[in-house]
């Protein structure tokens, strides 16, 4: 299985690098101390359970009238967040870790709601919400550093992106909303490109949850761009700007991939890939979700992560279905658009196969 393959790889590296037996022994010892792999569904169960517990705690605080006002909620929030961090640091059992996660989420929820309700900073609702969102970003960044739980870091990342979305929407400049996908796209691609450097500076316990959090956030903040929400929520949002932003991230990712597998920037293969991508981006200008999903699938495949791949594929199906279903054209035009796109993809596939067969690229 995985460990056996890795042991063989380590032996190969030992022989290639002329390393001694001690090096190999250290590696094997470190692998033996590796904590057990927790499947995704158990993590999902833990996460959902934490949210459920959070809801119960909030209901308890409200129904017992311990939290009767915004001030009380603020005090409880200020106490619960550091308390949760302490509890987690000292926790030896799963129960303590779970409970501290729930306490942290409850404390944060109370804190942000309190900031939005009290008139301490301002009486204007918009301003209060913006300040609450700013606090959410600052607190979440601090918690990512000090609260070392992966699920908590994942949730904190989503909170950060969510808060940024709230701030952008409160500024009432819809065009600014499109900067977020570009920002997230560049971040996730950079994570992948500079992975080994970041891993040595930090560790994967921080990076992986951040990566997952960013990818999930990217998929969800593009939901308003589907026709389900466009008319009601955001008007004149110029979603093509999001597509261009994500498209640039996609081109950057492709550049890092072709470089890794040995092609130069201006080789025939590279130019073919970039031009196909540009055509793809232009054809889905009003549907940034499709471009983003493709970015996520590529990222998932390049890092060998099936969860990211699966997420990308699921969202690709969703966004593509929405795009074609709600396009404001007749069924006949939709069918021609689908047929044309399908044929173009098959032609690209044929060209790749033909070039590969003839030039053995």
């Amino acid at each position: 299985m995985g460990q056996d393959e890795l042991n063989d790889a380590l032996i190969t590296i030992q022989k290639e690098g002329g390393l001694n037996e001690k090096w190999l022994e250290n590696c094997v010892a470190a692998l033996k101390q590796q904590p057990e792999n927790t499947p995704w569904y158990i993590k999902a169960m833990l996460g959902i359970s934490a949210w459920l517990t959070m809801i119960f705690i909030i209901l308890f605080l409200v129904s017992s009238q311990l939290v009767r006002s915004a001030s009380a909620a603020l005090i409880f929030g200020i106490i619960m967040i550091p308390l949760a961090c302490l509890m987690y640091k000292k926790s030896a059992h799963q129960f303590q870790k779970q409970f501290s996660l729930a306490i942290s989420l409850t404390g944060q929820t109370l804190f942000y709601i309190a900031i939005t309700s009290i008139n301490f900073f301002s009486e204007n609702t918009n301003t209060k919400i913006t300040i609450s969102a700013t606090f959410a970003i600052i607190i979440s960044i601090i918690l990512i550093k000090i609260y070392e739980d992966k699920i908590h870091r994942f949730i904190s990342t989503i909170i950060i992106i969510g808060a940024m979305t709230v701030i952008v929407s409160r500024l009432n400049i819809p065009v600014l909303f499109n900067v977020l996908p570009l920002f997230i796209g560049i971040l996730v691609v950079s994570f992948s490109s500079y992975e080994q450097r970041l891993l040595q500076l930090s560790n994967s316990d921080m990076l992986r949850p951040l990566q997952y959090g960013l990818l999930f956030s990217l998929m969800f903040i593009l939901l308003p761009a589907t026709s389900l929400f466009t008319k009601e929520i955001l008007q004149n949002s110029h979603f093509f700007l999001s597509t261009i932003g994500i498209g640039l991230s996609l081109l950057y990712l492709e550049y890092t991939i072709v470089k890794k597998i040995g092609y130069t920037l201006f080789s025939n293969v590279s130019l073919f890939i970039y031009s196909s991508t540009i055509i793809f981006i232009m054809s889905t200008l009003q549907a940034p979700g499709i471009t983003a999903s493709f970015l996520v699938i590529l990222l998932g495949f390049s890092s060998g992560d099936k969860i990211i791949q699966g997420t990308g594929i699921s969202f690709l199906v969703w966004y593509t279905s929405n795009y074609y279903y709600f396009m404001n054209i007749s069924l006949l035009d939709k069918s021609l658009s689908l047929i044309t796109t399908g044929i173009i993809l098959l032609i690209i596939r044929y060209i790749i196969r033909f070039c590969t067969r003839n030039k053995n690229v």
Partner: protein, 352 residues
């Protein structure tokens, strides 16, 4: 098996502990094929472009016929669908039922059979009961389902049988449930979930459980690889959800005006949940060895216990505080149990 250490995570551990440097990390990733090489990328692009291209092309053709559907003569419609079915069967014949192409052909033929029956019903307006469509569809494709040995087709078959049962029951056997049960106003949702009809739910649980038992015991290769058990896991998840619905309906039925004839009936329904979950947990812990199904079962038990305790305690504040501890406690206990079980299986398999 999905509880084995991930190669990438193992590598991250080595890097984190400074056992290897960045260059060695990259080299390991290449040797263990975590990072795809040129041929992997070519294969990925080839498959992705193929499936995306075929899907969009097929949908486009479908939309084209949908656009012109009203203008087509009824015999043209039947000939078109019939030809597509024959084409799919021909593909299976030439490719063989063991190849992916052959299995795909049978899947397509099965789906098109349903479309043919629907078009027939639409064209001739026979006034037949809706359950007949699904039952007829299931019977007609049974031989293909058997031949294909494809999990997706088995799921389709079970889905059709469920729909036939729900349609038949809701038309001939049930009385409308009044009251505030969520979704009871939506007949389709009511039919699909049986949320407000305990007897229907019991029947669905029985039918699907028999299906799951037969499926588990007729598997030729006992494999626990996640990819090959997705259909069984889907079925088991549905059974657990249906059984949980019985539990929640029993607990909260008096709130929503459901009529129970006797306490015996209440105990019987509550026992169904206990017995079904106990059987699932015992089987999949000792023999079936499926961590996912165990996780879903434990999750259901957590909700069920919370619901029972929440209902039993009158004071809201006490109830919520207790529930928070119970939710965390149960989840922690079950997570510990799942990890312990996974460790035991790993040791028994000799790979730990």
């Amino acid at each position: 098996m999905d509880y084995h250490p991930d190669k990438r995570k193992l590598l991250d551990t080595l890097l984190k502990n400074h056992c290897i440097n960045a260059e060695q990390y990259l080299r390991c990733k290449k040797i263990t094929r975590i990072t795809p090489d040129k041929s992997d990328w070519r294969q990925f692009l080839d498959r992705f472009l193929f499936f995306a291209g075929i899907s969009l092309l097929s949908l486009g053709i479908l939309f084209f016929f949908a656009y012109n559907w009203q203008d087509l003569h009824k015999f043209t419609k039947f000939i078109l669908i019939g030809s597509a079915i024959l084409g799919s069967i021909a593909l299976t014949h030439f490719k063989g039922t063991d190849s992916p192409g052959g299995k795909g052909g049978l899947l397509l033929a099965s789906l098109l059979t349903g479309i043919l029956l629907a078009v027939y019903g639409q064209t001739y307006q026979t006034g037949a009961d809706p359950y007949g469509l699904f039952l007829g569809w299931a019977i007609l494709i049974l031989s293909w389902v058997w031949l294909a040995r494809l999990q997706a087709l088995w799921i389709l078959f079970i889905l059709l049988c469920n729909l036939a049962l729900i349609m038949y029951w809701s038309e001939f056997m049930s009385t409308p449930i009044t009251g505030g049960i969520l979704f009871s106003g939506n007949p389709l949702f009511y039919r699909l979930t049986g949320i407000s009809d305990i007897k229907l739910n019991e029947l669905l649980v029985l039918f699907n459980s028999i299906g799951l038992i037969i499926w588990e015991f007729t598997l030729k290769k006992k494999t626990h690889h996640a990819d090959s058990r997705w259909a069984i896991r889907l079925l088991a998840t549905y059974i657990i959800i249906s059984t949980s619905q019985i539990w929640f309906t029993v607990l909260f039925s008096y709130n929503y005006g459901l009529q129970y004839k006797s306490w015996g009936h209440v105990i019987f329904d509550a026992s169904i949940y206990t017995i079904v979950l106990a059987c699932i947990i015992m089987f999949y812990k000792n023999r079936g060895r499926d961590l996912y199904i165990l996780a879903v079962s434990y999750f259901s038990v957590t909700f069920a216990v919370c619901a029972l305790i929440g209902k039993g305690i009158g004071d809201a504040a006490t109830s919520f505080l207790l529930l928070s501890f119970i939710a965390v406690g149960l989840t922690s206990a079950f997570t510990f149990s799942l990890k312990k079980t996974a460790r035991e299986w790993r040791l028994e398999d000799g790979s730990g």
